[in-house]
Symmetry: C2
Subunit: 265 residues, 2 copies
């Protein structure tokens, strides 16, 4: 069992550390391969017992020394409890099929978001405002950090375990499939309006009460221009001229909030 | 000239590093004591020349070796340019006097936000959505990180240099003075509604088109209960039950966006 790295191994499992994230994993629909306690981590057993002591699940519980645990842990001050988790199985096709014709579909598409902390924070915010699924995509310039990397999982507070998440697709192909299923694809943009015919809307001009996918781009560069152009519309958040831009996580928070606001009324 | 630390020294000056932040400082209304270039940082001179070569300001420009620069720099890979800046002078009284009766007043009050990165990110977002001033306050439990710490300045992308910012006040005293000036004070809350008579509103139920101050609390604990109770109203952002809470920066982004949305229409 290797926790380091956090990317799904060949077996498809990821390591999850600390009592809070392990609890989130146990509460989620994700299959749990095993839970591991170190000697000093055994104090967390009481908190997790209600999930572990269900006869219908039979999760293997392993015990190890503190020293061995430190050797496989990713964090500097490991809390002595970890789980090996299989992220809930899904596919781009399944996410799109579920979203098609479903007015509550709200799909996050990350394109080249490289910082694992940002990926986690954006997933947490999206889930808080009712996102139904997430796609982590690559563009020409860069891929998106894995939502299952330890730093991303911590920043997401476990949201990556609750939401259907799929990776490994090129942005262009994912957008094409989403649009073919009549899911309205919107690109966050910091570019000035240009002569093309694509609508450029404020967040409150967008009609969020329909199946929607929202593209969020790289922290520094935003979305590649060809990805922006492939969307149905572009959104620009109006901001003061004294500030150059919002960071990617703040922009995502604002847009998912606007979707939730419109859908709640 | 010591850049390390970033807190205003006895002289009231703070160190600012890197071409982007130095440019922000030069664009701001803050008095600049000096600009310092290392040998390898001299390449940034062209970018900054339009600000430096104004006869009416006469900013001292110093040159140093790379090695000496590295010794006083705060960052690991210093970019060889720094400035010593006096934050724009202001006071709580001035911020309140300016806000009184001004319907565009939108004052950020940070109470016990301890991570400098969060302080900077929240300042950047607040400035982007038209905040008019910021107060960094302490509560019983903890103070707020300095907005002029290097990590906070970087995360704020210089917003702390453009916005009037004042620190060193207790939250309770600041709230009392704001309310006495008829500035509507709102507390972000994650507590369930209780039996007291304080209104608990969604962000879109709040009327933001009047002088407003918004209290943002500590990352883990939120606002102390007595600070919440001292406000005119509490705001709660409705979120999905699958997520425990938003992080402080995401909550701030959403609330300042909502203010900007209402004020723009």
């Amino acid at each position: 069992m290797a926790l380091r790295g956090g990317l799904p191994s060949e077996s498809g499992a990821v390591g999850v550390e600390g009592p809070r994230l392990v609890e989130e994993a146990l509460r989620s629909a994700c299959p749990i391969r095993a839970v591991l306690f170190s000697e000093s981590g055994a104090r967390h057993h009481t908190r997790l017992a209600p999930y572990l002591d269900r006869p219908e699940v039979a999760i293997p519980v392993l015990h190890t020394t503190d020293r061995l645990f430190e050797g496989i842990a990713d964090t500097e001050n490991p809390q002595g409890v970890a789980a090996l988790v299989t992220p809930r199985p899904t596919s781009l096709e399944e996410i799109i099929r579920t979203g098609e014709g479903c007015s509550s579909a709200l799909i996050l598409v990350l394109v080249g978001v490289q910082d694992p902390g940002n990926v986690g924070t954006i997933l947490r915010t999206a889930a808080a405002f009712g996102a139904s699924a997430a796609i982590t995509a690559a563009s020409g310039q860069s891929g998106t950090a894995s939502p299952f990397a330890p730093k991303a999982l911590r920043a997401s507070a476990g949201a990556a375990l609750h939401l259907p998440v799929v990776g490994g697709h090129a942005a262009a192909a994912a957008i094409e499939q989403l649009r073919a299923a009549n899911i309205y694809v919107m690109a966050t943009s910091s570019r000035e309006s240009d002569s093309n015919s694509q609508p450029l809307l404020t967040p409150w001009q967008v009609n969020w009460c329909r199946p929607v996918a929202l593209l969020i781009g790289n922290e520094g560069q935003g979305l590649p221009e060809e990805v922006e152009r492939a969307a149905d519309a572009r959104i620009r958040i109006p901001i003061s001229s004294s500030v150059e831009s919002l960071n990617a996580a703040a922009a995502a928070a604002v847009l998912f909030y606007e979707a939730a606001r419109q859908r709640s009324s």
